[in-house]
Symmetry: C2
Subunit: 416 residues, 2 copies
Amino acid sequence: MALIVQKYGGTSVADPDRMRAVADHVAFTKRHGDQVVVVVSAMGKSTDNLIKLANEVSSVQPGREMDMLLTTGERVSMSLLCMALADRGIDAMSFTGSQVGIITDTAHGKAKILEVRGDRLREALAEDRVCVVAGFQGVSTAKEITTLGRGGSDTTAVAIAAALGADACEIYTDVTGVFSADPRIVPQAHKLSHVNFDEMLEMAGAGSKVLALRSVEFARNHHVPLHVRSSFTWEPGTWVTSEEPSMEDPIISGVVTDSSEAKVTVLGVPDRPGISAALFEPLAAANVNVDMIVQNTSTEGRTDISFTVPLADMKVAEGIVAEVAQQMEAAGVTHDNDIAKVSLVGAGMKTSPGVAASMFRTLAENDVNIQMISTSTIRISVVIASSDLEKAARCLHTAFGLDSGQAYSAPLPERK
Amino acid sequence: MALIVQKYGGTSVADPDRMRAVADHVAFTKRHGDQVVVVVSAMGKSTDNLIKLANEVSSVQPGREMDMLLTTGERVSMSLLCMALADRGIDAMSFTGSQVGIITDTAHGKAKILEVRGDRLREALAEDRVCVVAGFQGVSTAKEITTLGRGGSDTTAVAIAAALGADACEIYTDVTGVFSADPRIVPQAHKLSHVNFDEMLEMAGAGSKVLALRSVEFARNHHVPLHVRSSFTWEPGTWVTSEEPSMEDPIISGVVTDSSEAKVTVLGVPDRPGISAALFEPLAAANVNVDMIVQNTSTEGRTDISFTVPLADMKVAEGIVAEVAQQMEAAGVTHDNDIAKVSLVGAGMKTSPGVAASMFRTLAENDVNIQMISTSTIRISVVIASSDLEKAARCLHTAFGLDSGQAYSAPLPERK
């Protein structure tokens, strides 16, 4: 008998039909003999609708009240799922974040989990019940309702899996798993049966939307095996574990693409200590998420600094950068919204020198000009013109041997 | 400085515009120097929509999960109202039934309030805050979320007013107060400035929908003055208090009409002990709300029993009655859905004999045939054909002097 935590995202429970399909699968898992804890998100667009309603009512939105408002969506989902399970003869019980004892700090809207007590879950499981938990929420040390921010339901699921020592945490979503590339961009992309936590973290950082970065970090730190899979097809998906790749595995697991950023370059910056701080501190203070930063070698005491920010933050960033550039007497500022980021991610990179050189050669042979480069031990990212995105992703996918099927063999037992 | 509890029903907070109008009025009351606790219902049809959703998902609806589902509606309202108040510079704080310490029994869907702790309300009021409380809900002695049933938000408001010793409990709704008759049926009907609790209870029992019977009982038992008024016009409404009418007040306060019931008659019932119990016990067990019951004097050992039930319960009642009638060897059963109930209510009736006779005389002179009669010390109700409803209500309204303005002078100071 295994203990499985299953998390269903908003599209998985978007309407009564989907809710019943999820209930069928939970009932199937339970009847298979496993203990099941389910974590649910709010139905479909309901969180967005609540935010819209709040905007219509008031321009001032205290965090405590906003959190109280938004947590209702997951409560609706969990109650409905328990009813659908009762309909199938499964004894289920719902729990809010507060009832589960998910204790967070007091940062409304982006609270961090400090502790998962889980006593009521253990009791209910001992009574042979299925537990259904509202994702995305907790109760603060000040006894106020809090939310965990975007992707919070994944974090709830992983945190509960860690606290209960679950055998696996299944993340059900609207895709069948983690792919070697985005299939809409690279038709030959295939589903990966396994990636390790470090790779998944780099993929999430490089723009993959399958799993929220925070939940992967949490899973890695608490050794919770994740299984990302589809609630529409129920086929086996991608396991994310701490297992290191073996020698036989390909060096590269996937090509990750990201078109959501823009590039800013500050030209002719005086090359002296404190210049970078002067530029990036005000951006951080304004909550602008700076991603890649590249500074060229200085010539004649001046240098250029380029960085990427989310397109959504571009307007705020522009204002700040213009002001700072003037203060530091830079030669000018340029913006480019038509860029894309392509990254190669693979744990095998650590032991295989020359991946970067091969990547640059492949891009050059395909007439793709590289504007910026950044690397980690298991990732290489380049910024290119957005018009080159498809060509670049496809040629790299082919060049690194990803077109021909499974990147890893499947080492883990798989469950329906 | 007075302490005012204000309760806003679903139509009062139905959309963002209405929510802002309510925030304006709460801010006005607070700036006037009063302490304010607001109790809100779910927005417009949102509770009905949640029930519809539950029906679409499952035919089995455990009470605990249904209560968890339905309580989200009031949470949404209270958070949004706090945001709108923050927008107006008013420091407001929302509280769920559980946070307020509204302790109930464990009867999900129709829980009774056992205790209102109210510590967090007292703290927040001491900090000069407006408190906004989710109506209709509490937390049971088993620490589960419960709902108080239909009209539950009125009960929440009255219970909080009683616990805090509030100076008044204002019930804001979509009508301007309690009327001498339903203005859609009797055009000359006028708003009453004052009725006492006993009259209001009889009016609610006779079919008036302005206040839920339970909340009036609670207000009477805990001496909470109620002020029923409109959130659309904000004009002074009707005070409901324990004050007895004076000699100068009219004998009759109002004519109450009710078209929501149907009549069942069991003919030729053997007149022996236990027959009534045999008939009404199974109806009670099936949750059929029997209202008026009339049993004629027996002739030749047999009698007729007539009673009224809500039209909505008629189908269930029919099946039960048919079975019982057969068992008791009654002569037959008749049904009539085309009936109406007209009641006269007035505290003055206690000291004025002859009201019933005048009522019957008036109806006879207007060719209205009386099918059933039932009385209390301050109410007389008759069942008539539904086609006679308008005629009966109007002629009684005129005959008892209600056409000419105020039924009582207004003895209480009124607040904007």
